[in-house]
C-alpha cells in the first residue's frame, strides 16, 4: 500500500514538475513567439513603409503637396486653373493641420473615391480620377509611409474657387459624368510587365493628369494620353500615343527607359514640367517598373496611323523664304555653337533640332518656351551635371524669337507652321 502511495506521490510530483516545466516552457515559447511576431510585425511594417515611400515617389505626391522650399508634404502649393486657385492640403500626420487623425479607410476613401474624411467631395485637382486605379494594398502602403513622417503643423489657406465651380452639387454632377471609380483591371491578353506599366501610368503615375485634352469642365477627354495644354501651366504635354508628338512606338525600350530615368537621351530631353517629374519621381523607378512603364508607353502608338497632316502656311512663299533667312541669321549667332550647323546637336548633351518632334509639333508652345526660358535638364543620378540652355528672352525680342523658332521648325528637312511674335507673347508667363 505504502508503495502505491509513494508511487502516487512520485507521479503527482513528477506531474507537478512537468506541469511546472511545461508551464515555463510554454510561457517561454509564447513570449518567444510574441517577440518573433512583433519583430516580424515591425519588419513587415517597415517594409510596408519603405514600399509606401517608393510608391509615394512614383505618385509624386510631394510634387503638389509641397511648396517651393517648403516643408515636405505640408501642402500649401497653389494650383492656378481656369476654375480658381486650389491650395494643396497638408498630408503629414499632424493631428490638427494634417492627416494625423485619418484611418487607413479614410485615406482609401480619398484616393479611391475622391471623398475626404468627413465625406466631403474632393475636387479632381487631386487626381483621384487616376488614383482610383491604385490597389488597396498600395494605398495602405502609401498611408503607412505618410503616417511615418514627422508631423508638420502648417495650416494652409482655403481654396479660392470661382462661382459656380465652388458648388458641391455641381461637383457631384461632374463626378457622375466624368469619374469612374475602380481599381485597375489587368488585360489578360497582355503580359504581366505591360499590365504593371499600364497600372503605373494610368494610376499612381497619373500621366493623364497632364498628357490629355480637357473639356470646358476640366474633364479629361480620354485615357489614352493624347496630349494637350496642361491645366494652369503654359506648357503643352505632347501626345504619348502619336508618332508625331511623343509616342515612343519606334523607340528602343532602352531609350524610353533612359528618358524616364535620366531625363535625357541621344535625341530627346525632358524639359519644363516633365524635367521636374523626372527629378522628383521617375528617376527613382525600380528597374522592373521602368521597363514595365516603357513597354506600356511603347504600345500606345499601336493605333496611330502616323499620317502627317498637311502644313498650312498663312504666308506667301516669298515672305516664307525671308522669314527663314532672318531666322537663320539669328540661329547662326546664338544657337549654332551648341546645336550645330546641321541642327544635329551633341547627343546626350545638346538635343538635336533636326527631326526633333518637340520642335515641329503642331503646337509651337514648348519650342518657343524653351527658347524664352532656356533651362537645365533635371539633375539625375545618371546625369548629375547637365549642360544648359540660356534664357534667350533676356536678349532677344519677341519678333526675333518668332523668327528663330520659325527657322528651326523649317530647317534641315523640318516642316511646321511659322511662328508669329504674338505667339511668342502668348507663350510667356504661367510659371507659378
Amino acid at each position: 500500500m505504502k508503495y502505491w502511495i509513494r508511487m502516487f506521490r512520485v507521479i503527482r510530483d513528477w506531474r507537478n514538475i512537468t506541469w511546472l516545466w511545461t508551464g515555463r516552457l510554454s510561457l517561454a515559447f509564447i513570449s518567444l513567439t510574441i517577440t518573433v511576431e512583433i519583430m516580424a510585425g515591425e519588419a513587415e511594417r517597415s517594409a510596408a513603409v519603405e514600399y509606401g515611400a517608393y510608391l509615394t515617389r512614383i505618385g509624386n505626391c510631394m510634387g503638389c503637396h509641397t511648396t517651393k522650399g517648403g516643408q515636405s508634404f505640408a501642402g500649401g502649393r497653389r494650383l492656378s486653373t481656369s476654375f480658381g486657385v486650389f491650395i494643396t492640403p497638408n498630408i503629414t500626420p499632424d493631428k490638427e493641420t494634417g492627416i494625423g487623425l485619418w484611418s487607413q479607410q479614410d485615406f482609401w476613401q480619398a484616393l479611391h473615391q475622391g471623398k475626404s474624411r468627413d465625406g466631403r467631395l474632393l475636387y479632381p485637382a487631386f487626381p483621384y480620377t487616376e488614383y482610383t486605379k491604385v490597389t488597396r494594398q498600395d494605398a495602405d502602403a502609401i498611408f503607412a509611409y505618410l503616417q511615418s513622417l514627422p508631423p508638420v503643423s502648417q495650416t494652409n489657406p482655403a481654396h479660392d474657387i470661382f462661382f459656380p465651380y465652388n458648388s458641391e452639387s455641381l461637383l457631384a454632377v461632374w463626378r457622375t459624368l466624368y469619374f469612374k471609380e475602380g481599381v485597375y483591371e489587368p488585360d489578360q491578353s497582355k503580359s504581366a510587365a505591360w499590365n504593371r506599366g499600364a497600372y503605373l501610368v494610368q494610376g499612381l503615375g497619373h500621366c493623364n493628369a497632364c498628357h490629355t485634352t480637357r473639356n470646358m469642365l476640366g474633364a479629361s477627354q480620354d485615357e489614352t494620353l493624347t496630349g494637350g495644354q496642361i491645366m494652369g501651366m503654359n506648357w503643352y504635354a505632347p501626345s504619348l500615343s502619336s508618332h508625331l508628338e511623343a509616342g515612343s512606338g519606334d523607340w528602343e525600350i532602352e531609350e524610353i527607359v533612359a528618358l524616364l530615368t535620366t531625363g535625357i537621351t541621344k535625341r530627346a530631353v525632358a524639359s519644363g514640367p516633365m524635367a521636374t517629374v523626372v527629378r522628383q519621381s521617375l528617376q527613382y523607378l525600380s528597374p522592373e517598373d521602368v521597363l514595365a512603364m516603357a513597354a506600356y508607353l511603347k504600345s500606345l502608338t499601336e493605333n496611330d496611323t502616323g499620317n502627317v497632316p498637311g502644313v498650312h502656311f498663312s504666308v506667301t512663299s516669298g515672305s516664307f523664304r525671308k522669314h527663314l533667312e532672318l531666322g537663320g541669321k539669328i540661329y547662326q549667332e546664338y544657337c549654332q555653337a551648341c546645336h550645330g550647323v546641321d541642327g544635329k546637336g551633341a547627343p546626350g548633351i545638346y538635343p538635336a533640332l533636326a527631326g526633333n518632334r518637340g520642335v515641329v509639333m503642331d503646337s509651337p508652345l514648348n519650342a518657343i518656351r524653351s527658347v524664352l526660358n532656356g533651362g537645365y535638364p533635371a539633375t539625375t543620378a545618371e546625369n548629375p551635371r547637365p549642360y544648359g540652355m540660356p534664357p534667350f528672352q533676356q536678349i532677344l525680342r519677341n519678333e526675333e524669337v518668332a523668327l528663330v523658332v520659325s527657322y528651326i521648325r523649317n530647317a534641315w528637312g523640318n516642316r511646321a507652321s511659322l511662328v508669329k511674335a504674338l505667339d511668342v507673347d502668348r507663350s510667356k508667363g504661367g510659371d507659378d
Binding site: K68, A275, G345, A346, R385, G388, P391
Partner: protein, 236 residues
C-alpha cells in the same frame, strides 16, 4: 583601296560634323546658360541689370542659387533656370564662379554732386549708428569686395541693380539671408536720397581685390545678420 580609304575618311569627317565637334567637358561649357547674361563682356542687354558674380564668395553665390530655386528670392528667369538642379551641382557652379577672376567693364561714370559723394562715403565707411545703420564696409569688407564665405561684394554692380535690390529690401519683397534678414532692416532705415547716393557711388568704383576673410567681421554684426559658419564650412 584608295576609294575605300577616302570613303572611310569621308565617313569619319561627316560623323565629326554631325556631332558638331566635341563638347568640352568643362564647367565653362556647362554654365553657358549663365554667362550669356553674367559675362565678363558687355552682354548686359537692354537694362544693364545683371550683377557681376565672378569672384564673389562661394557661400554667397550658393545661397543665392538655392534661394532662387527654393522661392526665397524671386526673379523669374533664374527661378525657371534652376528649378531642377541639385544642391551638389549648384555648389559646384558656385565654386566655379567664385574662383573666376575676370577683368570687368569700366565702372559707370555717373555725375555726382560733392555733397552726394560725401553722403555716400559717410554711409559706406561710417554709417549712422544712432539710426542703427552700420557702415557698409563693416560687413562687405574694407574694399567692399565682400567677405568669405557668404557676404557679397558691392563693386562691379550696376546702379540699376543696386537700386533695385535696396528698393526690394525696403518694400519687403525680397529675402536674402537663409535665416534672418538684416539687410532688409538696414535698407528700411535709408532715405530715397541715401539709396541713390550709395547706388551711384558704388557703380562708379572699379573692381579690384578679393573678398576678405570671415574673421574681419565683428562678432556683433555677424550675430546680427545670422552669419554663422556651419560645420561643413557653409554659411547660413
Amino acid at each position: 583601296m584608295i576609294r575605300l580609304i577616302i570613303l572611310i575618311g569621308f565617313c569619319i569627317t561627316s560623323m565629326a560634323n554631325a556631332t558638331g565637334g566635341e563638347v568640352p567637358d568643362t564647367m565653362a561649357e556647362r554654365v553657358k546658360a549663365c554667362t550669356i547674361c553674367h559675362s565678363a563682356e558687355d552682354k548686359a542687354g537692354r537694362d544693364a541689370y545683371y550683377p557681376r558674380i565672378a569672384g564673389k564668395p562661394q557661400g554667397y553665390i550658393f545661397n543665392q542659387l538655392r534661394n532662387f530655386r527654393d522661392g526665397r528670392r524671386y526673379y523669374q528667369p533664374m527661378v525657371v533656370l534652376l528649378e531642377n538642379m541639385s544642391d551638389e551641382y549648384l555648389l559646384e557652379i558656385a565654386q566655379y564662379f567664385s574662383s573666376l577672376q575676370l577683368p570687368y567693364l569700366d565702372p559707370e561714370r555717373i555725375h555726382m554732386q560733392p555733397e552726394e559723394i560725401k553722403l555716400a562715403q559717410h554711409l559706406i565707411y561710417s554709417g549712422y549708428p544712432q539710426r542703427n545703420i552700420p557702415p557698409c564696409s563693416a560687413c562687405h569688407g574694407d574694399i567692399l569686395m565682400g567677405v568669405e564665405p557668404a557676404i557679397p561684394g558691392l563693386i562691379g554692380l550696376s546702379r540699376a541693380y543696386i537700386t533695385a535690390q535696396l528698393g526690394g529690401w525696403r518694400s519687403g519683397s525680397i529675402m536674402r539671408g537663409q535665416t534672418s534678414d538684416c539687410m532688409s532692416e538696414i535698407a528700411k532705415q535709408l532715405t530715397e536720397r541715401e539709396v541713390n547716393a550709395v547706388a551711384k557711388w558704388l557703380a562708379n568704383q572699379s573692381v579690384s581685390g578679393k573678398p576678405g576673410s570671415f574673421n574681419v567681421l565683428s562678432p556683433e554684426l555677424a550675430n546680427r545678420c545670422g552669419l554663422t559658419t556651419l560645420e561643413n564650412g557653409e554659411a547660413e
